[in-house]
Symmetry: C2
Subunit: 338 residues, 2 copies
DNA sequence: ATGAAAGCGCTAACAT
DNA sequence: ATGTTAGCGCTTTCAT
């Protein structure tokens, strides 16, 4: 590429000072009509684009934010990302993607990038928040929004769902179908998201008068493989479940594929329910009954909150709880009559 | 956050000039051991992080690159992204994500962002390259790498697969199984990727002595919905196919789900083969036979090429063809004997 | 309504 | 081996 024209080139072409060029672009109302026109014409003529590095340095802002996720290969985050990106574009930000792979150091790396003024703020969608935020004093925190996860030690702007209520809804659906032996494949407890979903499972069972048998909960890690193995362990029990509530869709898919290998038919023999409504949940066979999270809106809201924090809006510290929705498809049915 | 310490604060604390601080960080070997130690100690003491906006302005580089895709919600791009990101991190770059939604204006927007020095270069994974690059003279192009797609008018650094050969492999697999009525659900022709896969389909049929009946190709658009409808049209023919080669996995999934609704069993009645080996291809039922693209390596290679272009490496204009691999799973089988 | 000039924080050329 | 200094390109006082 040829050398970029600078504001000086425009100033020379329009025979004005660089300050006037800057004004023509930022506060055109301050200039006389004739001058403004002349400058804008010069801008076009020399094909000028403001240099963002210089502008950022001068303004002490980058107009970029980091979206930091646990594993960017998880399609779930993509839809959140597209929501963040949509809102960011409207607000004049660009979105950088960070990815911690569950490493606390990698998370701190993104905090450092904000310190280094590579971005103005962060949206965190990682687990292990307590560990990450542990030794950072409150006033050392960069502008920050927590999405999906949350942090209980002190109040941060947060957008999330009510995991407990959503999980309870899912389990109530199974109870309403008549299931009495309902198992749970959980996420990595004690992470707060997994704990919430497990609590909702226990809550729904308890309120219906069923006892939550601890042996009916096996711990997974949100991967399909852990759905496979968790399901195998559950079905090997003396009194195997007739329904399994999985803490996410991938584990539900793993469980269903395992059940097929074991010779069970879903939902005829066993019902399975997932969580998230990822994009392939409806295309799966059988189509997955699951809990939909408003991913796109979660992303938009997170960006909106972050912008609030960035411009120092008054009550930027709010916690927004987004609604969830049980999506009943083909992986759940009444229990088989024996 | 408190005010960030600057290089001046370090200089004062270490009683040296700012230049010496800069050297301690960039070219420590130039300094006397004692000075270097003193400076680094001061850096720690005042908790200094270099301001990247200032560094970028001074160095005239951003150390960021844009990865521009057609639709970032497509999980396929994610794995490419993770490859780009891995290599970028190793080379000291951060990756910005751009997303054109197939709009030429949106694509140009990212070109403008490079002009505005928001990023140093671009990796393009969008269709419509000819339209996008149309009226840009060669010397107006920013540092640029094309991935997956390609552009024939003039030579750009490119990483891609041999779509024709890969598609031919897939179709040969069906031929080897004994199929003689093989249909194709294509991507949006005349885009080059779709054309290549269609050409491979025709080539494999022709070389085996089968005639490629144009009515056996229906045009899709890479969405699951177009797999559904394309499959329905094919199966409504007088002499329906016994096997369908789909130009990507989503369309193959759509086709399989449609076949199930029509009462066909895959692969017993009809074989279906996809392309890409997206992350859910193996979890699908039946597990999808498909053509695997080395997505992660494609991403890494693209970033490597872009870095070459950025540092002005000699033969940065190379075109890299990555290998593909036919992954035979459960969606293909010999044709049913009538 | 416009211009002059300072300076954001850093690096690199030049000087010593 | 270290310091001095001149910018990178822009925005924003402060003057006029």
């Amino acid at each position: 590429m040829a050398r970029q024209p600078t504001i000086k080139d425009v100033a020379k072409a329009a025979k004005v000072s660089t300050a006037t060029v800057s004004r023509a672009l930022k506060q055109p109302e301050l200039l006389a009509n004739a001058t403004r026109e002349r400058v804008l014409e010069a801008v076009r003529q020399v094909n000028y684009t403001p240099n963002l590095m210089a502008r950022n340095l001068r303004r002490q802002e980058t107009k970029s934010i980091f979206l930091v996720v646990r594993d960017m290969r998880n399609p779930f985050y993509l839809e959140v990302f597209s929501g963040v990106e949509e809102e960011a574009r409207a607000l004049g930000y660009t979105v950088l993607m960070g990815n911690t792979e569950d490493s606390i150091e990698r998370a701190h790396f993104y905090f450092d990038l904000v310190r280094a003024r590579h971005a103005d703020g962060l949206i965190l969608m990682t687990g292990k928040l307590p560990d990450i935020l542990d030794d950072l004093a409150r006033d050392q925190l960069p502008p920050l929004v927590v999405a999906l996860e949350y942090f209980t030690d002190f109040h941060l702007p947060t957008v999330r769902i009510d995991n407990e209520a959503a999980a309870a809804d899912a389990v109530r659906h199974l109870i309403a179908l008549g299931h009495t032996r309902i198992a749970h494949i959980s996420g990595p407890i004690p992470e707060i998201m997994s704990t919430g979903r497990h609590d909702g499972y226990v809550m729904a069972l308890t309120e219906s008068g069923q006892k939550a048998d601890p042996a009916m909960t096996v711990r997974g890690d949100f991967t399909m493989a852990s759905g496979h193995s968790g399901c195998r362990r559950l079905m090997a029990r003396d009194n195997p479940p007739t329904a399994i509530f999985c803490a996410n869709d991938e584990m539900a898919m793993g469980a269903i594929n395992e059940l097929r290998e074991l010779g069970y038919s879903v939902p005829h023999d066993i019902s399975v329910i997932g969580f998230d409504d990822i994009v392939f949940a409806g295309a799966f066979y059988p189509p997955l009954t699951t809990v939909r999270q408003p991913r796109h809106d979660i992303g938009k809201t997170a960006m909106r909150l972050l912008n609030g924090a960035l411009i120092g809006a008054p009550n930027a510290n709010e916690e927004v709880i987004m609604p969830t929705e049980l999506v009943v498809r083909g992986s759940t049915a009444p229990p088989k009559q024996n």
